[in-house]
């Protein structure tokens, strides 16, 4: 188990009202609640937008992974604007391009394909977390 300071901060995009944004949040929940609960810490993007000091410090000094629904990459940009360097910037749209059969639909509640896509995203992030924790901290982000 990691100390709270060592945990990797997972920052999903807000994407409220957008299907791919919902996938990013669902994936973040899966990572932080189920797959790697002891190694991660979920951070709401809105805290960075609002300039919350603790949230800013967490991404500035710690390791982070961002998950964005679309290629505007709002979460990744916000983390960088607040002084952080994500170890990985995931775009759900890129993951979907590799899993065309998993077309997400729905907003408040994802369809089955969307839930499965979120799981794929979450598993990729879990792998990244394992790699990051096993080796030296990456400074250059890798895109999904």
């Amino acid at each position: 188990m990691s100390s709270p300071e060592d945990r990797i901060v997972v920052v999903p995009c807000s994407g409220i009202g957008k299907t791919f944004g919902s996938v990013s949040r669902e994936a973040a929940y899966e990572v932080c609640d189920e797959l790697r609960p002891d190694a991660t810490r979920l951070l709401a993007l809105s805290k960075l937008v609002l300039g919350d000091d603790e949230a800013r410090e967490r991404v500035r000094t710690g390791r982070s992974i961002t998950i964005d629904g679309c290629k505007l990459m709002c979460a990744a940009k916000l983390v960088r604007q607040r002084g952080g360097v994500p170890v990985r910037e995931v775009a759900v749209l890129d993951v979907y391009r590799d899993h065309k059969d998993l077309k997400p639909d729905g907003i408040a509640e994802l369809n089955e394909a969307g839930t499965r896509l979120a799981r794929v995203v979450a598993e990729e992030i879990a792998d990244t977390i394992d790699q990051v924790r096993a080796g030296p901290t990456a400074r250059e982000p890798s895109h999904a």
Binding site: T19, K71, L93, R97
Partner: protein
């Protein structure tokens, strides 16, 4: 760099490049000379359709009749078949579309072009297409219709 007409409707701003012709479906054609036309979608089409997940253009060498589809866009919201406004043969496909189809969203009038078409009838067909001001007007009507939908 093209110049643009611009209109803001509700919270959305749409641009129309002034150096090309349009169909009412939101396909633009830029004259490259010698009957070669670069084709793409308008800012309105890309904003209205959402993030592009896949962009597929018919193979180079394919001859397209006027009004037939020359490309498909699959976005996060819709699947769009794109009709070519005039007859022509696909001679080039934007190589960026395969790895980065989001370029259609990011730069619809520039790097987000879809195909180059050889169109022998361009000189005759050009006047049947919309100039930028005419397309702007058509697009404004389409946006207003969308906004007025319940």
């Amino acid at each position: 760099m093209p110049e643009y007409l611009e209109t803001t409707l509700d919270k959305f701003t749409f641009r129309v490049a002034t150096d090309r012709r349009y169909s009412s479906d939101g396909i633009w054609l830029l004259d490259l000379g010698g009957g070669r036309l670069r084709a793409g979608v308008t800012d309105f089409v890309q904003q209205h359709s959402g993030d592009v997940a896949f962009a597929t253009v018919r193979a180079a060498g394919t001859t397209i009749a006027a009004g037939d589809e020359f490309a498909d866009l699959e976005t996060v919201k819709v699947n769009l078949g794109l009709p070519l406004p005039i007859a022509g043969t696909i001679v080039e496909i934007n190589p960026a579309l395969e790895a980065s189809p989001e370029v259609v969203n990011q730069d619809p009038y520039g790097d987000g072009w879809l195909a180059v078409v050889q169109a022998p009838g361009w000189e005759e067909a050009r006047d049947g297409l919309l100039d930028p001001r005419a397309y702007l007007s058509v697009m404004q009507s389409q946006v207003a219709q969308e906004l007025n939908q319940p």
